[in-house]
Symmetry: C2
Amino acid sequence: MLKINSEHIAQMEKYCRINLINSVAGYKSLNLLGTISPDGITNLSVVSSAFHLGSNPPLIGIVMRPEREHNDTLKNIKDTGHYTLNNVQSEWLQQAHQTSASYPSGVSEFDQCGFSKEYLPSFKAPFVRQSSIRIGLELRDVIGMELNGTTIVIGEVMHILTENEVIGDDGLVDHERAGTMAVTGLDAYYQPKFTERLAYAKPGITVSLKSEEVRLYP
Amino acid sequence: MLKINSEHIAQMEKYCRINLINSVAGYKSLNLLGTISPDGITNLSVVSSAFHLGSNPPLIGIVMRPEREHNDTLKNIKDTGHYTLNNVQSEWLQQAHQTSASYPSGVSEFDQCGFSKEYLPSFKAPFVRQSSIRIGLELRDVIGMELNGTTIVIGEVMHILTENEVIGDDGLVDHERAGTMAVTGLDAYYQPKFTERLAYAKPGITVSLKSEEVRLYP
């Protein structure tokens, strides 16, 4: 068995640690985050930190890193209050990945990477026209994390743009039909395949595994 | 095109809204969260909200819901400072799903659902022996969300238990080899298939898509 502890992690080469910690907890959602500055310059970047905070009100969180020299995205979200999350499909994965390149301020990744902007009335941020699921969010909370200087951004879902066949009768989004990809680490992309849906769990169902207790010593 | 706005979402039937908002942002990581109370009663539950907060220090966040009558898990984390995240594999997916049943306080989902407990010296929380990737975390921050009463729990990675072949030379975890599953919504399970890794993106790479601007009117 491989046992890695906090001392090993602290001593790891930087990119090895980034890859390990960015991938260890499992598959991550993959979206393009679209914003616009008050003077009309659009911005697009890949995010893999989106998490479900709650359904009523409908809230989604994302993590913004501190180390970017010119973090236009976070500034745009704070300035306009609007941003979009747009799913990534395999046909244009290369272009989506390319948005993570460090373009100069004032240059839009929409134009550089070939994505079309789509706008709704009364909603400032651009949606990605190529995406089959597009979410428009309004800023609700900004939490500065003292632990590491990151920022957790919480938004309320104001718009969902998709096709009828992508959403099931019970509300579940069919990401396999939508062609949505997943990611681990910084750059390893995956296409998930549907396995099954399981019924609401109740006590009393017999399971076949036997429970044991084991103590590991160094 | 299907356009769902915030009014539609507010008027949806409750479970339809839960399914939609829980699934709209893409695939989610799937883990079993293991804890223990100060008097030794273990607890195990499925979590799909784990997100990467940062690599140095190595931090992972999870969201805890407020509506559970007896939230033993959050209490155990606060009381002991330790908890584990353990990946879920298809061979025992049913058992993992079964941990979400509402068992009475004092009954351990480890025993009810047939999972073996594994302990490290000087680390209180139980790992799931069946999991091929097991993460031991120490509590670093608890953030109460005024927006909806949920709690964001931030932990530092203290231990990673796995097999040598699961971690690549550059630190990336191979979740396909580890048999890790993903989830959307509450109960739709997926087995991701590796597509590709892409090189670090730099400006200047030509892309084939053409950027356009479109305004959608109601």
